[in-house]
């Protein structure tokens, strides 16, 4: 087979497109977890974002309202989680799982009237530059605004956590809420904000699936991507840049295994379909094996409730 350079560019572009929802949800969840809150409701928040985005797009016809509405829906549903875990001090794991179950159920209910309706075309940027450069232009140009945002997000997140004061506060709250509280930081407020931000990003990830990637609504359309996003956060040892790498490897192997099947590579198909899961974990474990760094980046009080008497 002749490897055409534009063909390579096309494959890389489709890998990047498939990585977008994982990056968005993971980076959102990363901030939540860095503040010490473990929210297992990613899948539920994504599916709520997916139906909200699609429903708003169909009803209002405005893509802007739909995208922000989906983020707002993510915020609203994560508020439930924040209220339960931060105000009523419930268990993070149980509450997060409940959030996922709730999200899938309620999205199916809202979605009943939106099945079988085609989505709208989502505008892409820089389409005119698509044929200017071999290899690079399919990668760089002709994507939606959410796509570009997703690829900037890991760097913004990394900068935010390392270089800004608010980032430092978030990390302090996640590492030692007691000390942070003694320094006069309102732990509950910071954690609320981080949970709501995580909800907004998961909502956006869901809206990307139902409005841009495969513009349609069908039940359970997130197909477990929320769980993969959660796993990426942990295996990347809470490092946004490694999330980007992990999401690209996962998306890449999913797509390349289809290409291998189409070319007719004689490897058992079941092995090929398992490949993305296995390789992503192995690679992330290998690149994150420095135990000192893991200790530094792991939020020490992750999943532990903080309660202050006053």
């Amino acid at each position: 087979m002749i490897i055409d350079i534009n063909f390579v560019g096309l494959i890389i572009a489709s890998i990047m497109a498939s990585a977008v929802p994982l990056i968005l949800a993971s980076c959102g969840e990363l901030i939540t977890e860095r503040s010490g809150v473990l929210n297992l409701g990613v899948e539920g928040m994504m599916i709520i974002g997916a139906i909200s985005g699609f429903a708003l797009m169909t009803v209002t016809g405005s893509l802007i309202i739909a995208v922000f509405g989906a983020m707002l829906a993510g915020v609203l549903i994560s508020t439930i989680f924040a209220f339960l875990t931060q105000t009523l001090i419930t268990n993070h794991v149980a509450t997060g799982l409940a959030l996922t179950i709730f999200g899938i159920g309620i999205s199916a209910m809202i979605g009943k009237n939106f099945v079988g309706i085609p989505g709208k075309e989502f505008p892409v940027l820089f389409e005119g530059l698509k044929d200017t450069m071999p290899l690079l232009s399919p990668i760089l140009f002709g994507h939606s605004v959410v796509f570009y945002f997703a690829f900037a997000l890991p760097f913004i997140t990394s900068y935010f956590l390392k270089k800004t004061k608010i980032g430092l506060i978030v990390r302090a709250v996640g590492d030692s809420p007691e000390s942070a509280s003694n320094q006069g930081i309102n732990v509950k407020f910071v954690r609320y904000a981080c949970i709501l931000y995580g909800g907004a990003m998961c909502g956006l990830a869901g809206a990307y699936l139902s409005m841009i990637y495969t513009p349609q609504w069908i039940e359970n359309m997130t197909g477990g991507r929320g769980w993969i996003a959660l796993a990426l956060v942990v295996f990347s040892t809470w490092n946004p840049i490694k999330i980007l790498i992990g999401a690209m490897i996962f998306g890449g192997l999913t797509i390349i295994q289809f290409h291998m099947q189409a070319i007719g590579v004689r490897i058992p198909v079941q092995f090929l379909t398992a490949l993305p899961y296995i390789v992503t974990i192995i690679v992330l474990v290998v690149i994150s094996r420095d135990s000192r760094k893991i200790r530094l980046s792991t939020p020490s009080s992750l999943g532990k409730s903080f309660y202050k008497d006053n």
Partner: protein, 356 residues
Amino acid sequence: MHKFLIRSFVSSLVLLFTLTVAAVAKDVKAAFVYIGPTGDHGWTYQHDVGRKAVEAAGFKTTYVEGVPESADAERVLRQLANSGHDVIFTTSFGYMNPTNKVAKEFPNVKFEHATGYKREHPNVSTYAARFYEGRTILGTIAGTMTKSNVIGYVASFPIPEVIRGINSFTLAAQKVNPNIKTKIVWAFTWYDPGKEAEAAKALIDQGADVIAQHTDSTAIVQIAEKAGVYAFGQASDMDKFAPKAVLTSVENNWGPYYVDRVKAVANGTWNQKDTWHGIGDGMVVISDLDSQMPADLRSKVKKLQADLASGKVHSFTGPIYDQKGNLMVAEGKTADDGMLAGMMTYVKGVEGDIPK
């Protein structure tokens, strides 16, 4: 696990509701057991369209969606049978054993199992559709419309139903265009829009200019629309999702059969049957042919459709050889239903191996 929890919860609610309703009504009541959500716009959705036809015919119906093919199915069936339903349709292959088991316990309730072959008790019937006839038509169109001579096919799971579809499609495409190659990609899912889209994209990137699918979502036709290649709708008419890409769709049309069978129960004429209906009986419907197809192709397809309906043409007419060149069906013969039901080998011309 979480899916299971919701489903159990929803099923119990539905059952509770049925129990209450059952106490007052005396007319014939039909129940439907679904594997997926009615919102899948595919397999379950089409069964539910059939159920609505039964409602429209004046009968009461109930459905339980998302029932796992496990001991759970037995529990659901028992409760439906106990709550005054006269006929129960179980609409997935995996319900075969639960259906027969529960049928033995309720000899007065009629059971109708889709796509299975076990009828262990006189109150169990089976029914299925000859979707492969539809795929003969799709293959004919694909073989004619392709310019690259590469046809992509997104498959779900290696079971006879899917293999039969691939074979029937490829045989028909080869008949009109001996140079075509069918590239098959296994998605190992019935229903995951993201994954189906990625599979279709890979095939298009590798030069396929017509994409066929045996998975349920509309993601593939949308990808085809974006890439400017042709595709076919699955289970329902998907034309509105991709008006330029979709040349036609093969629709599953269960309504007439369901109405017929429920009426038979009402009249007391219900008897055990094994139904395998195709285009001729209207269980497999070919949607409108797209105007992008040349007029002579359209009339050829119309004729083929009529011939398949009348039985003049059979999708598997010999000589048919398998990939190794062994004769599967002799010249002038057609494959019998037994062979079709257990078909697990590719015909000559299909590339690759069946995943084991």
